[in-house]
Amino acid sequence: MDERPSDFRDTLLELIESSPAPADHPSPDRWLAYQRGELAADEEAQLQEHLARCRDCFDLAAAAASFAEREAEPGAGGDVETAALWRLLRPQLGARDNVRAISAGPRRQSWRFRLPSYLAASFFVALMGMTAWNLHTRQPLPNAPIFDIYSGDRDPNRREWTMPAGPRMLVFHAEEELPVYRLVIRDAAAGRELYSYELRPNQDRAMTLYLPAGLPPGRYRMEIADGSGGRAGRVLATHRVRVAEPGRGD
């Protein structure tokens, strides 16, 4: 029956681990003294026993050996190397947190560096929100009533459109061939401008507009004007509109 290496190792581990764990860890100075041979034999033996059970102290003891080594007389090359390293190190002495940058992982940047990123992210989120809201408001609403309004109707007394309260879609059919129009909604009584929209005709010269859902019941005047120059110009058509109370449309 053959013994296996794992049996040997397991037995050894069991022996070591069943012995009491080291309580006091020798100081770096003790390891330096140990490596320089300045300790008594029994103290040296104690430290060596400690080494077998303490990985951290083993590292320290091994490092102490490098420190305890007798200094060789530095040559010219060594001086140059020292001076070069000092030149590298010197500019970093004043900087804060530079140790972490080398010895640790990637560090968190200060808020000054993060601010532009945060602003860009906020702007992006706001832009996406506004786009979503805009798409939502422009999206054709199911079952919204559609009103076709033809340009050229300049008689303000000819007809009054009655619309139910709530969302509705107006389709303007332009006779002129202007690139841009402007629709102005006014209070019929006072003539005060309430809303103003820029409209651009499609290839069929039709312009679609969703009237604001919050337009309260009442009488209004819609003016379709030339929208060149970003403002209402010559009025092309005027329509009277009555927004009825809910459930009381004509």
């Binding site: 770096p28 060596q48 530095p74 001086d79 190190l89």
Partner: protein, 222 residues
């Protein structure tokens, strides 16, 4: 020595920096007197030791340079708070080991990935296997097998306990901590050849003792 009497020592690159110079420089540094100049003295005193320490552990020159700088920057940051409870050299040693350990633990594989650079030919003395890929047949055998195995382990335990202290110590460091012959030699302040001899004799003694009781035994250690 009164701190007020201290004057910052002049740095002369050609002269060796003694321990007293460094102590004066540290006190002056803590007082805020020409910190850069005083720190340079400390740097000149310890940088060769730190390079020696890293040379056996860090293979890449660039990483050694980075680590050397990291250690001195850490010393610079902590020097104001150094209270002189231990020697300055011990304090610097502890910082160097801490920075090195942090770096080592970040390497893929952690401690095992950064063995000390071996100086001896590892083929001369076969090393014990760290782990057996195959389970011991006796470990999963009949009750009789288990009893036999237990007796054998007891005998092995007794044999290990009877080894000479240095032999046992070398065996423990080699098998338990998985240290190389060179690392053990450095830590125990003996030559690598002596470590090899201790390991060889330990194996022989264990083999002889357990063989007398149980017959042929393979420790996998040469």
């Amino acid at each position: 020595m009164k701190l007020g009497e201290l004057t910052p020592p002049a740095v002369d690159d050609s002269l060796p920096v003694g321990p007293e110079d460094v102590v004066r420089a540290v006190l002056a540094f803590q007082q805020g007197v020409d910190r850069e100049r005083n720190f340079e003295l400390l740097f000149r005193r310890f940088h060769r030791r730190i390079e020696r320490f890293l040379a056996a552990r860090v293979f890449s020159c660039e990483e050694r340079l980075d680590l050397t700088q990291a250690i001195f920057l850490r010393i610079y940051q902590g020097l104001k708070g150094y209270r002189g409870e231990g020697s300055l050299e011990g304090w610097v040693l502890q910082i160097a080991v801490n920075v090195y350990r942090k770096w080592r633990d970040r390497q893929p594989g952690g401690r095992q990935a950064v063995p000390e650079i071996p100086f001896e030919d590892p083929s001369v003395v076969p090393e014990p296997q760290a782990a057996d890929p195959f389970p011991s047949p006796s470990a999963t055998g009949s009750p009789l097998d288990r009893v036999v195995r237990q007796e054998r382990l007891d005998a092995l335990r007794q044999a290990i306990g009877e080894l000479a202290p240095k032999q046992r110590l070398c065996m423990e460091l080699h098998v338990y901590q998985e240290r190389s012959v060179q690392e053990i030699a450095t830590a125990l302040r003996i030559s690598p050849e002596t470590v090899k001899a201790h390991l060889f004799q330990a194996r022989q003694r264990l083999r002889d003792k357990v063989h007398a009781t149980f017959g042929t035994i393979d420790f996998g250690t040469g």
